[in-house]
């Protein structure tokens, strides 16, 4: 099992398989947007890392900053109104925020690729699927039209699109939602990137198709030994494929844990509340537990812990002090690898 860096400064004690250095590391990232109502602080000091062959799930609701972080990594934030006042995004040890536009463009697509939620609007409707896939090879690898087409068909086979050779000249609207998402995956895979960022890749799909697409993604990730950052709001989707999870709330990471641990013993009241508020498929419950209140307005994030107005355990300290990501341990002080919780009362939450 791999390890999460609680803080950027203290690397994982027993190291990941890849010689200890993560593929991508986000350090103390801050992102703001200027809006009509003031400055919206979308990301407020996020740290996470992902190694080759590892899947990091970033879990959060809308406004938690999970997608904004991903956009900052990809360098596709709208700036302005967006701004990155602070932070580093290290790809293989190099800070991408300090790179020139040209250098970043080389990494984007080649080394880091992204899969979006809405495949239909991410594909150009007037170009055939084969042309759009082939474009990656023509532009980045300088292949001829014919070679690029052959490669496209090969790629469509890889993502299990039936009759790829026959459908290579079809247009995006001629494919179903699940098939379009496969094409998006194929495009992301085209240049065999080291890291894939998938932003809600299955949210727009039906459950029966969701499972197919998630399985495909996991299989390809293993095969290519890529890093995968899976951004989602769905606790169920994450459970299937992730190695470790980072839960975000109001622009901060509030809990990190290996996937099984998180569901079994959440160490942050927000995570705990989320898990309890989901109805179960296998049993009929009584009234659902509901987290009270609303996600905070990003222009007016509550002082102290951002979750305090909604938290059943909040004390005075929660309203004044911002909790750092404390390492979470067993009751007897035994180490729990990769676990952290940004709660003053994590002990009570996990062991109470």
């Amino acid at each position: 099992m791999t390890i999460i860096d609680e803080t950027a400064e203290s690397p994982a004690p027993d190291g990941a398989q890849d010689a200890g250095r993560p593929l991508l590391e986000v350090r103390d990232l801050h992102v703001e947007f200027s809006t009509r109502d003031g400055v919206a602080k979308a990301v407020n000091g996020v740290n996470y890392s992902v190694a080759a062959g590892e899947t990091l799930a970033v879990l959060g609701e809308s406004g938690s900053g999970k997608s904004v972080t991903a956009q900052a990594i990809m360098g596709i934030l709208d700036m302005p109104p967006g701004r990155i006042p602070k932070g580093e995004i290290l790809f293989r040890g190099q800070d991408m925020l300090k790179m020139s536009g040209e250098e970043r463009r080389k990494i984007r697509g080649n080394k880091i690729a992204m899969i979006f939620q809405d495949a239909l609007s991410s594909l150009n409707p007037v170009l055939s699927v084969g042309y759009q896939l082939g474009e990656m090879f023509r532009v980045h690898q300088g292949l001829s039209k014919k070679e690029a087409k052959a490669k496209s068909i090969e790629l469509m086979d890889r993502v299990k699109i039936p009759a790829a050779a026959a459908r290579v000249n079809d247009y995006p609207h001629q494919f179903s939602g699940g098939m379009r998402q496969r094409i998006m995956i194929a495009m992301a895979l085209a240049l065999e990137p080291d890291l894939i960022i998938a932003d809600e890749p299955t949210t727009a799909l039906d459950v029966t198709v969701q499972a197919q697409v998630m399985d495909l993604l996991a299989e390809l990730q293993r095969e290519y030994h890529m890093g995968l950052i899976l951004i989602t709001h769905d606790l169920g989707v994450v459970a299937d494929v992730a190695d470790k999870i980072a839960v975000m709330y109001a622009g901060r990471i509030v809990e990190t844990a290996p996937v099984h641990e998180l569901y079994k013993r959440p160490a942050h009241p927000y995570t705990k509340g989320l898990l309890e508020s989901i109805p179960r498929l296998d049993q009929k419950g009584q009234e659902l537990y509901a987290i009270k209140g609303l996600p905070p307005n990003l222009t007016r994030i509550p002082s102290g812990c951002a979750f305090n107005p909604r938290c059943p355990q909040a004390q005075d300290i929660c309203r004044t002090d911002i909790p750092q990501l404390f390492p979470v341990t067993e009751q007897d002080g035994g180490e729990l690898a990769g676990r952290g919780s940004a709660c003053h009362f994590w002990k009570e939450t996990i062991h109470g």
């Binding site: 039936p162 459950v207 709001h233 013993r265 296998d282």
Partner: protein, 382 residues
């Protein structure tokens, strides 16, 4: 605080999930058997019989001619009883939202009847239809588009009284609107605000208040929580359950999220390509499904619990849902079904209690439209 404590205990006791559940299921079966007794249900408040909706496909600009039809809903029948929640689940394109629009008389049915208290409402128009509308209201999926952005909350809810002035006298309307806001858990002082000043969950509460304003008996909920954040979904589901008890409402709850449907529904119908595949009580459908599509659908639901997940069998369907403009012959699910045989292509399976379960008091004895219906528990860990 007390609440959380209670749940803490149950969290600690989860390691042996499977054991806990088998106990649960056993006790539930008895409870359900008692509930299922036909006498306790009384008269259905809404009876849907052979409902069909075909959308014509046309060609030409000025002079259109029909070249085919999208068979969105193709012969659906079910009953809705007073005070119960009937869940309708299915994937996109199965026709569940069209059913909602047909029941709301927003679309004209191609064929079939909808009886509200014995009266066929598909034949109504004008004043008689308006009177029926008072009793059947709707809650929409997207709280961002279902409220007119140019109207204040007070106008949005108050409009119902302008359309049906007999419900509330003029001077009383503002007070009634504030009362409704209070009922759905919003501050009555926000009556003069515009929808964009509220968050998604709050807007959905406004939509629910509008649906409640006329004091209807039936509320048709078309994916009412799917556009909301997880932490807000539970609030809205709880609110809807509370309101149901308070006002003795009947819900037709249409959703694609099977977990939420199980939570809120008394009975559940599963739709596939415009037809009802299986219908029964929530325990019958979730714990004793007999239609292969239901089984596949249930097995594909991601469960936020990796341990119970690993013990479950997963049926991964191949291929996509066929186009409703050109559905497969016979059983519509046969193109993706692992059990399909020649018979399935030739004969349309009827929605009925399968022959092999007839007379049995097993929970598998419920209506299922499959030639080879067979019980299979896919929800619980093996």
């Amino acid at each position: 605080m007390a609440e959380l404590k209670k749940t803490d205990e149950s969290m600690d006791a989860t390691p042996n999930v499977a054991e806990v559940e088998t106990v649960d299921a056993a006790s539930e079966e008895e409870a359900v058997a008692a509930f299922d007794a036909p006498v306790s249900r009384g008269e259905p408040i809404l009876q849907v019989r052979g409902l069909v909706k075909h959308f014509p496909l046309t060609q030409g600009i000025l002079f259109k001619r029909q070249v085919g039809a999208v068979k969105a809903v193709d012969g659906i029948s079910f009953d809705l009883y007073q005070g119960e929640t009937l869940g309708i689940v299915g994937e996109s394109g199965c026709g569940k939202s069209t059913v909602a629009r047909l029941l709301m008389m927003l679309e004209k049915a191609t064929a079939g009847e909808v009886f509200y208290k014995g009266q066929d409402i598909t034949k109504l128009s004008g004043r008689a239809l308006k009177a029926v509308r008072r009793n059947i209201q709707m809650v929409f999926q997207d709280p961002y588009t279902s409220l007119n952005p140019r109207m204040t909350v007070g106008d949005i809810i108050g409009e119902t009284f302008e359309i049906h002035p007999e419900v509330a006298p003029k001077g009383d309307r503002r007070r009634k609107v504030q009362e409704l806001l209070d009922v759905v858990g919003l501050n009555p002082e926000y009556i003069n605000r515009y929808p964009h000043q509220f968050s998604g969950g709050q807007r959905q509460r406004i939509g629910i208040a509008r649906g409640l304003a006329l004091n209807p008996e039936i509320i048709i909920c078309d994916e009412p929580v799917s556009a909301l954040d997880v932490s807000v979904q539970a609030q809205v589901v709880n609110l809807m359950e509370k309101l149901q008890d308070e006002f003795n409402l009947s819900y037709l709850f249409i959703a694609h999220d099977l977990s939420i449907v199980r939570h809120i529904s008394d009975r559940v119908g599963v739709m596939y390509l415009g037809k009802m595949a299986e219908i029964g009580t929530d325990t019958q459908i979730y714990d004793h499904p007999t239609h292969p599509y239901t089984q596949a659908l249930l097995s594909a639901v991601p469960v936020p619990d990796p341990e119970s997940r690993e013990g479950r069998e997963r049926i991964i369907l191949t291929g996509d849902v066929p186009s409703p403009a050109n559905p497969p012959s016979g059983c519509r699910f046969r193109t993706r079904c692992w059990k399909a045989q020649d018979k399935c292509a030739e004969e349309v399976p009827l929605l009925a209690v399968p022959e092999r379960f007839k007379g049995s008091d097993s929970l598998a004895a419920h209506e299922s439209a499959c030639h080879f219906a067979e019980e299979k528990d896919v929800v619980h860990a093996a």
